[in-house]
């Protein structure tokens, strides 16, 4: 009996040590240590992944619609938005999730108009479920996208209203169960510029969002613009002394708050963007669901500056990025 046990014991002790040597790979940890492995690297932060959605493109892309002028002189902007709910997208390296999209992306396109413009949004629902578009802002009841359910597989509806008030607003699907439709990705940003316009700036949109990939009503990933850790790996390039304007919209579900902390600087904050006087000069604001605002700042010194949720859990699950401030090249004054 004893020899049998000994054989067992030795087998258990030494079997793990016998494995073929492979070419080593290395990766860098959060603390900067370099680690070697004979296997594969599981790295949502540093790996360059071929994600379908391009956060760089989304950041500075504004959709002004097809513009024409009506007889009364009013500007008409027409948009076509197509909803789908069958897309499976790699939202973090190696993690695939069924996203529901407006025009193929999460978030949907950033729609932009000037206060007083007439908007015509041709909504086509190519999904398998019912969807709508609900815009925050001022509009008639029947344009609210709550009771006007648009059926799937080609259902249509045209939303028609005047843009206003000036500010940054979200739009999202408003079909029940609402949380499901929003957390799957049916939301986007709607910017209304004041008639007199805002000062020239390097403008960008950041939608703070998250994904509950295992459906336990807790987010597994957080991000600014969908892809966790993306702007940490691909810093957002900005110019020293140039005015930066960030339209921030918090679309995170399941968590009561989100926030944005800027390193090495403070920003003028305009809640909802409806007022031209900032409410605060700060490096930290806290946003509840669909709270949003405009941040304006300039960097005096070149270099890398972190921005992230100061709810550290969110930043450690992807909502973190870097501004790379460059030294006065191609500055627009």
């Amino acid at each position: 009996m004893i020899p049998v046990f000994m054989i067992f014991a030795f087998y258990f002790i030494f079997s793990e040590g016998i494995s073929a040597q492979q070419e080593d790979q290395t990766f860098v940890t959060h603390t900067g240590a370099v680690v070697k492995t004979s296997g594969e690297v599981l790295d949502p932060v540093y790996q360059v992944s071929e994600v379908e959605f391009d956060p760089d493109k989304y950041l500075r892309e504004f959709n002004y619609g097809r513009v024409s002028t009506l007889e009364n002189g009013q500007t008409l902007r027409e948009f076509t938005i197509i909803a789908e709910d069958d897309r499976v997208q790699e939202i973090s390296p190696g993690v695939f999730y069924n996203v529901w999209t407006f025009n193929g992306t999460v978030p949907g396109p950033t729609l932009r108009a000037t206060e007083g413009d007439l908007l015509k949004i041709n909504f086509i629902n190519n999904g398998s479920k019912e969807h709508t578009m609900h815009f925050h802002g001022i509009h008639p009841a029947e344009m609210d996208g709550v009771f006007e359910i648009v059926g799937g597989n080609g259902g249509r509806f045209t939303y028609e209203f005047e843009a206003g008030p000036a500010g940054v607003h979200p739009y999202h699907c408003h079909v029940m169960p609402l949380e499901e439709h929003i957390s799957h990705g049916l939301y986007g940003v709607f910017i209304v510029d004041p008639k007199e316009g805002r000062p020239a700036a390097d403008e960008m949109v950041m939608v703070l969002n998250g994904f509950d990939t295992d459906f336990d009503t807790e987010n597994n990933f957080y991000a600014a613009n969908t892809i966790p850790f993306y702007y940490q790996h691909h810093p957002i390039q900005i110019n020293k002394d140039e005015l930066i304007r960030v339209y921030v919209v918090n679309m995170v579900e399941f968590d009561p708050i989100n926030n944005l902390h800027l390193h090495g600087n403070l920003y003028q904050y305009y809640p909802t963007g409806t007022d031209i006087i900032p409410s605060e000069f700060t490096d930290m604001i806290t946003l509840s669901q669909t709270e949003r605002g405009i941040m304006e700042f300039k960097y005096q010194y070149p270099g890398k500056y972190l921005f992230h949720a100061h709810k550290v859990e969110f930043s450690e699950k992807g909502w973190v990025g870097i501004f790379l401030v460059k030294d006065n090249i191609g500055i627009k004054e």
């Binding site: 940890t29 492995t37 296997g39 690297v41 540093y46 939202i91 993690v95 990939t213 450690e316 699950k317």
Partner: protein, 392 residues
């Protein structure tokens, strides 16, 4: 005549084959292409984090694909915070395949941690660790330490128990039967204890896919049957060899107890391995105490033998030394699956020994198991074990 014979042979073969034909037909109907009978819906990935080791600046998780489909590992986290990490040999796991996930992390001793693994569809699997403690490295010093612990828990108590032999030798037949029955009581308790332990380990650490309770039942039954068969052979042989029947029985008891003590060693090694020093001390004291009764169990059937000292020493070793090997395995390479299997084998062995001893008493008592000596012996045995057991 010849023709008839052939004809009936063909009949036999055909009648044996026909049911197979229907089995194939039935399977084709259930599983075959286009069969719509079975629709199990979406097969979901499942992985189990079987073991977590804390080494210098790194947490290592041994994971196994315990679901019905191959999985691809996407990510690791500590306390639900995503960490860059490595997986060896690779991220693709076939069914039941294991991999080692290495998470560089400056962990703090004695703090609790939750280790999470996310697969390609975004599902996260988690294991809670009550208190981080450095993983044991299989050093010679530690091996010697475990050997000493094993000796104190296994060999020495059993040897102490054997010292009751001269006492048992001097008593009359019914008192002797009392002690044999006492052995049965002790063993019965140990058998139940082993099963309980095996089920507990399987519940806490084994993936559902292994179906812990049925695994315990199956291994226990198989080990019982296997050892029963081997035991009967051994007893038959003992009639025609130098090995006497009581010695053969005592040997079987030693083997059964040895397997049980291996399980106890596993428990101690694993407790030291996960760093719960207080718990391991508790186990050591408790096991050491109640293992002295195991010596009585071995000594009782041998009491009518002469020149037993050498044999008893060997049996003491057989019963006691597995505790050492158990401690090594438990401390250095703990695997919930192997410990469930060992504990179940031990339970089967113990039940087999119980049957053998009851047989022995029945033969000696003219087919009567209901004497006061037997009933009180079994009862006292169980009560003694219970009382020493609650010390653990």
């Amino acid at each position: 005549m010849e023709l008839d014979n052939n004809k009936s042979k063909v009949k036999v073969v055909v009648s044996g084959i026909i049911p197979f034909f229907f089995i194939i037909l039935m399977m084709a109907y259930i599983f075959g292409p286009g069969a719509g009978l079975l629709d199990f819906g979406v097969a979901l990935p499942e992985i189990t984090i079987e073991k977590v080791d804390f080494i210098e600046s790194e947490i290592q998780a041994t994971i196994r694909n315990t679901g019905p489909i191959p999985v691809e590992i996407a990510m690791a986290d500590v306390n639900d915070r995503i960490q860059p990490s490595a997986i060896e040999p690779d991220r693709f796991l076939e069914r039941y395949e294991t991999a080692l996930v290495r998470i560089p992390f400056e962990w703090n001793e004695a703090e609790p941690y939750a280790i999470g693994i996310t697969v390609e569809d975004g599902t996260r699997f988690e294991k809670q660790i009550e208190a981080a403690a450095p993983a044991l490295e299989p050093t010679l010093d530690l091996a010697i330490f475990f050997a000493i612990i094993g000796t104190y828990v296994g060999i020495i108590p059993v040897m102490i128990g054997l010292l009751w032999l001269p006492f048992i030798k001097k008593i009359n037949k019914s008192k002797y039967h009392f002690f044999l029955a006492l052995t049965v009581g002790l063993l019965l308790f140990l058998g139940i204890d082993s099963i309980e332990e095996a089920i507990e380990v399987s519940k806490e650490n084994l993936a559902d896919v292994f179906n812990g309770i049925l695994l315990v039942a199956t291994v226990t039954a198989l080990s019982f049957l296997g050892l029963y068969y081997a035991g009967e052979k051994l007893l038959k042989k003992s009639e025609s060899s130098r090995l006497t029947k009581p010695v053969a029985i005592a040997l079987m008891i030693s083997i059964g107890i040895g397997l049980h003590n291996f399980g106890e060693g596993l428990a101690i090694g694993a407790a030291v391995g996960i760093g719960s020093i207080a718990f391991s001390t508790f186990l050591i004291v408790g096991f050491a105490l109640h293992n002295t009764t195991e010596g009585i169990a071995i000594a009782a059937p041998m009491s009518r033998e002469r020149k037993v000292i050498g044999k008893l020493a060997i049996m003491g070793m057989i019963a006691g030394s597995p505790a050492i090997f158990g401690a090594w395995v438990g401390g250095f390479v703990y695997s919930p699956f192997s410990s469930v299997v060992f504990l179940s084998i031990g339970a089967g062995a113990i039940f087999q020994v119980i049957i053998i001893i009851l047989n022995m008493i029945r033969v000696e008592c003219n087919n009567n198991l209901s004497s006061a000596a037997v009933v009180s012996g079994i009862s006292v045995g169980m009560v003694v074990m219970y009382l020493t057991g609650i010390l653990i």
